[in-house]
Amino acid sequence: MHIKPILAAMRHHKAGTVLIALQIALTLAIVCNALFIIQQRIERMARPSGLDETNLFVIRSDWADKSDPQRIDAQMRADLIALRQLGSVQDAAPINSFPLLGSGWDNFIKLQPDQVKMTTDSAIFFSDEHALAALGTRLIAGRNFTASEVGAQQPRDAMHSAQVIISKDLAHRLYPDGSALGKTIYVSMGRRPSTVIGITDTLQAHMTGSWAGPYAYNAVLVPAQLLNDYTYYLVRARPGQLDAAMRDAPKALFAQSRMRIIDHKDGVMTFAQVRQRAYGPDRGMAILMGIISVVLLAITAAGIVGLTSFWVGQRRKQIGVRRALGATRGDILSYFLTENLLIGIGGVLAGVVLAFGINLWMVSQFETARLSLAYVASGVVLLLLLGQGAVLAPAVRASHVPPVEATRSV
């Protein structure tokens, strides 16, 4: 293909060429960053929680008479016996917070009592010996709590536990050589150590904020019922009996005592709902970025169709002359395709620079991640193909201009 005549022709409509290139550059820069945001959000949403989510639901029970801790402790134990006796329930455990809830208790974890700075941060889950079975999380080393180890913890008392079970990721963070089992760690800012008696498979923390990224899989299970103004019950239904269990469980709890509040809106939630709530903003952002990207690409494609159509109309006579001088339809078609490709290449070159520029600025402003090269590369291919696709119809129309057009005066 002869590029020289194309470049010469471009010089005659500089403005249009520059505008299309600019549009392609801006579109590339925005779409790359938008797709990158979408990918990051999807990756976040796809993170495993480590739970048997399909059969799991949670109940939040607020105590209407927030009286003395002993009564709450006894009530919780009675509630749990009632829940575990239900035919539709496989197991149930009390817990103060759970993976993906968003709020809860997190502590600095230290390896030495005198350490000034923390080693890492971790979610603290207060539960009992049924926690692992209710969560559907496996132990990969060590042992579970025994019923006799389970104590009671008041929310504003100094926290301590002689035994803890920790998540795989926390174990690895504290002892990268894999020797965490049996070691002592400090989970409560105090000077009393806790022994790691068990390590679970993947277990997600309750924290979902972006600050908690490095700690998202750090969890410590403490064998104690937290005697707060409310508690959560994690209930794992027998396979296929989630609906039945969700009907039975609140009834069983109210049969135990009516002095409790189970919110009609979100007092009982399936884990699917918990997940949806935790990741709703991410899903929304991904959808929004998706919509904007589609609109952008459509508008850019339509813009290319519009301008090229104009050029074809403007050059009917020249096309006729070329055809009369022996150019084939294929020549005309490839002329417009090549022209578009050249403009497209100019546009994406500028776009790549712009995409990285925007990303760098976003990194400095919003602490987002660095744009990966693969995204920009696929964006480049996408836009070049889009340009070629958009130019096809006007180019085909141009190739159908008959040679006789050369003899017409207007």
Binding site: A15, R156, A158, M189, I299, T300, W311, M362
Partner: protein, 438 residues
């Protein structure tokens, strides 16, 4: 003459309906995306109390020291009980209130009704006049009630309706956490967003209306625990809620009203002197590291506007920019296609100004049509932000007259701007050349 240009523009737009539709669609989508995201941004970045925010200040005292400071050197964003109550006792601002979030249960008097869980704040009497809280019935309590730890309560109109029906309940009794309180005031639909008086505990936005306000010292004396965030740099030495009060844990929000620069400077001096005294007394092992920001600065520092909202707005503005570049190209094509017509008009004596007017009129019409489409799409957008944003934020986005006006204005102005270069090119068409070549 303008009517004539309108007619010309209309005729020209009708001649190429495809191109016209394309431009109108591009402007419409670009403007709608920008305006929808802007409506959300406007809602979350707005000043919740514009008439007074410059006089409202949030003091922060560094009771943790350099060891527990973040990399930015900021002191904790909430206060310990000791600092908050000392500041209240010293009473150096015109008005001030310490406050903490509570979540008591309310037991309705009617038989058969379930107890309710409500949220609210324990505050001082000056909270209500300081924040211009609107009352439907009654008013806040007095400073005397503060001092006497009176069993009084201010409730929301929503809770009032639930408990008493739609009547003036001032003087009646409400059972909160097992104790009787006398209602002194009913708040008239007050749900400021961002929840500026306690950002630490709400993150700025909350779907729930605050249902009860109780006197701070009363709530402390009956042991009504805090329900919000508690941050500690060390385990409290004593246990329970009392232990928390004696600790350096931070869990109390604070706000002060300072009228002018002199008052602000004086208050700043007071805070520094307080911290210096604490240093002398041995409680702080470091130099004063206080902050005193007015409300807008404080909200900005706390990054109340969600990042996603800013990013969305920027991306949508990018879309609008691309739409405009697109429109420049299409208008250019459209105008230059009529070079012959321009040549004839110019040859017949039309000055450049007339060409400018004619083509800008045309661009303006495209803009107006795009604006109308943009209005419809913005309506759809604002109505459906709930599908992609958390409820606490999407509920705040509203379509009002000013948003409608801005939408139209942005559409028309942007299109006129986009039309400038094509019009300039059209006005430069050489009449002689056009007449000869045709």
């Amino acid at each position: 003459m303008f009517a004539y240009y309108l007619e010309l523009a209309l005729r020209s737009l009708r001649r190429s309906p495809g191109l016209t539709a394309l431009m109108v669609l591009a402007i419409g989508f670009g403007v709608a995306a920008s305006m929808t995201t802007y409506s959300v941004f406007r809602a979350v970045s707005g000043d919740p109390i514009p008439w007074k925010s410059a006089q409202l200040f949030v003091p922060q005292i560094d009771n943790w020291g350099p060891k527990d400071r973040d990399t930015d050197g900021e002191p904790p964003s909430a206060m310990s009980y000791l600092d908050a109550t000392t500041l209240m006792r010293d009473h150096r601002a015109r008005r001030q209130s310490a406050m903490y979030q509570i979540s008591p249960s309310v037991v309705p008097t009617q038989a058969g009704k379930h107890p309710l869980n409500v949220t609210g704040h324990a505050v001082y009497s000056e909270f209500f006049p300081m924040l211009d809280v609107p009352f439907l019935y009654g008013s806040g309590w007095s400073a005397q009630d503060d001092a006497q730890r009176a069993a009084v309560a201010v409730i929301s109109s929503k809770l009032n309706e639930k408990l008493f029906g739609n009547v003036d309940s001032v003087g009646r009794t409400v059972n909160i956490e097992g104790r009787d309180y006398r209602v002194v005031g009913v708040i008239d639909h007050w749900n400021p967003q961002p929840r500026f008086y306690d950002v630490t505990n709400t993150g700025g936005f909350s779907e729930n209306v605050e249902d009860v306000f109780l006197p701070f010292e009363r709530a402390i004396s009956v042991g009504l625990p805090n329900n919000g965030n508690t941050n500690c740099n060390a385990t409290p030495k004593e246990s329970g809620f009392v232990g928390l009060q004696h600790s350096e844990c931070v869990w109390i929000a604070y706000m002060a009203e300072l009228d002018d620069a002199a008052a602000v400077a004086a208050y700043r001096q007071y805070l520094d002197a307080y911290a210096k005294n604490q240093q002398k007394a041995g409680r702080f092992g470091w130099a004063p590291n206080n902050r005193l920001r007015n409300l807008p600065d404080y909200l900005q520092q706390q990054q109340v506007v969600p990042r996603d909202t800013k990013v969305s707005l920027l991306v949508a503005l990018g879309l609008l920019l691309v739409c405009l570049v697109n429109t420049v190209g299409l208008l250019l094509a459209k105008f230059l296609r009529r070079s012959g017509e321009i040549g004839v008009r110019r040859a017949l004596g039309a000055p450049r100004k007339a060409i400018y007017l004619q083509f800008l009129t045309e661009a303006g019409m495209v803009g107006a049509a795009g604006g109308v489409l943009g209005l419809l799409l913005t309506g759809v957008g604002v109505a459906s932000v709930g599908l992609v944003l958390p409820k606490s934020i999407s509920d705040l986005a509203r379509l009002d007259l000013s948003l409608l006006a801005i939408t139209l204005l942005v559409a028309v102005l942007a299109t006129l701007l986009a039309g400038l270069y094509p019009t300039f090119r059209a006005s430069r068409v050489q009449p002689a050349w056009q007449l000869k070549s045709n």
